[in-house]
Symmetry: C3
Subunit: 134 residues, 3 copies
């Protein structure tokens, strides 16, 4: 079973979608199985991160913004703006696909784990995520 | 089939679990299929790395420790100690889930590949890994 | 169904294999399912990246080469040449396995996404990729 989710982002940062993915798993009625996610973009990515303290996610995004600088003078792929090439690099350093075992009809995540879409562009947009359950 | 593995870590560094995962695959009796791993933590991660020379894994962990510094003055998420926020970043830069095809009843890894739990905290602990075989 | 692909690389950089993987999916005759890739090496990796402008992939590889320097004086694992240890690090920072939902008999990639083998060694070689379709 495949479901298409759409996640609205609001500029750079992480947007949680754990509840939406668990709803897809519940709807599929699978007790034990596998849930696979693919984000259909190269300037946003997926990550499993701490779901408790938002400061951890802010520090994470800020750290990556300091590592992959928009003003890097070596970039040649600049036609789509200064945040475009850094977005591709950030996507390559994080995850485009995730596979999560399903246990007792729910995602088998740890207590403090959430699934996030990580927007790397300055401007928010609607990001498409494919969810496969088997 | 889902199995829960527990891996004891001993401070920062990589702990191999290839043999334990191959044992789960053997027990499942699957000749051709897929084995998916999820580590249920956000301050430790998974990686497939060279299993021959331990110096490669030491250099890898040391390099990442130089990239993600504990004394970064920008961090605000510091309540759980100076190694906590770097751990989340290191986990985001490596893998939380891995999916490995099963060939002839064994993990289809290359000759020099091993599966590792990568502990990012200074203190060792018992890390939980879900293993799904289908 | 498992297929073994071989990808010839030509020194550092990205080589696309989207068409080859789609051919495996087509041959498997699966309309809706999951396609999992594993590269059987620790000095090359997999990535899903922009398939339009080659300058994005060049900037990506060049950026990573500036981050993980061959002349890092801290490396001890140097017997296989100055590009060996950086290769392992680059592989750990990118992907060794990818799982892609299959939709309507094709890989469910976004419009601008392609699958790439990322060679991290200076010298090209024949890289083995396992493709599992279910």
């Amino acid at each position: 079973m495949i479901e298409r989710l759409t996640v609205q982002t609001h500029g750079q940062g992480l947007v949680e979608l754990t509840a939406e993915v668990n709803a897809v798993v519940r709807q599929a009625g699978v007790r034990e199985g596998l849930c696979t996610l693919l984000i259909q973009h190269t300037s946003a990515s997926l990550t499993i991160q701490e779901n408790a303290d938002p400061s951890a996610r802010r520090d994470l995004a800020d750290w990556l913004a300091r590592l992959v600088r928009e003003d890097d003078p070596h970039f040649t792929h600049t036609a789509e703006g200064p945040d475009d090439m850094p977005s591709h690099i950030k996507a390559a350093l994080t995850a485009t696909t995730l596979s999560i075992p399903i246990v007792d009809g729910r995602l088998g995540l740890g207590t403090w784990q959430g699934i996030y879409v990580w927007e790397h562009r300055r401007r928010g947009s609607r990001r498409r995520v494919l969810v496969h359950v088997s």
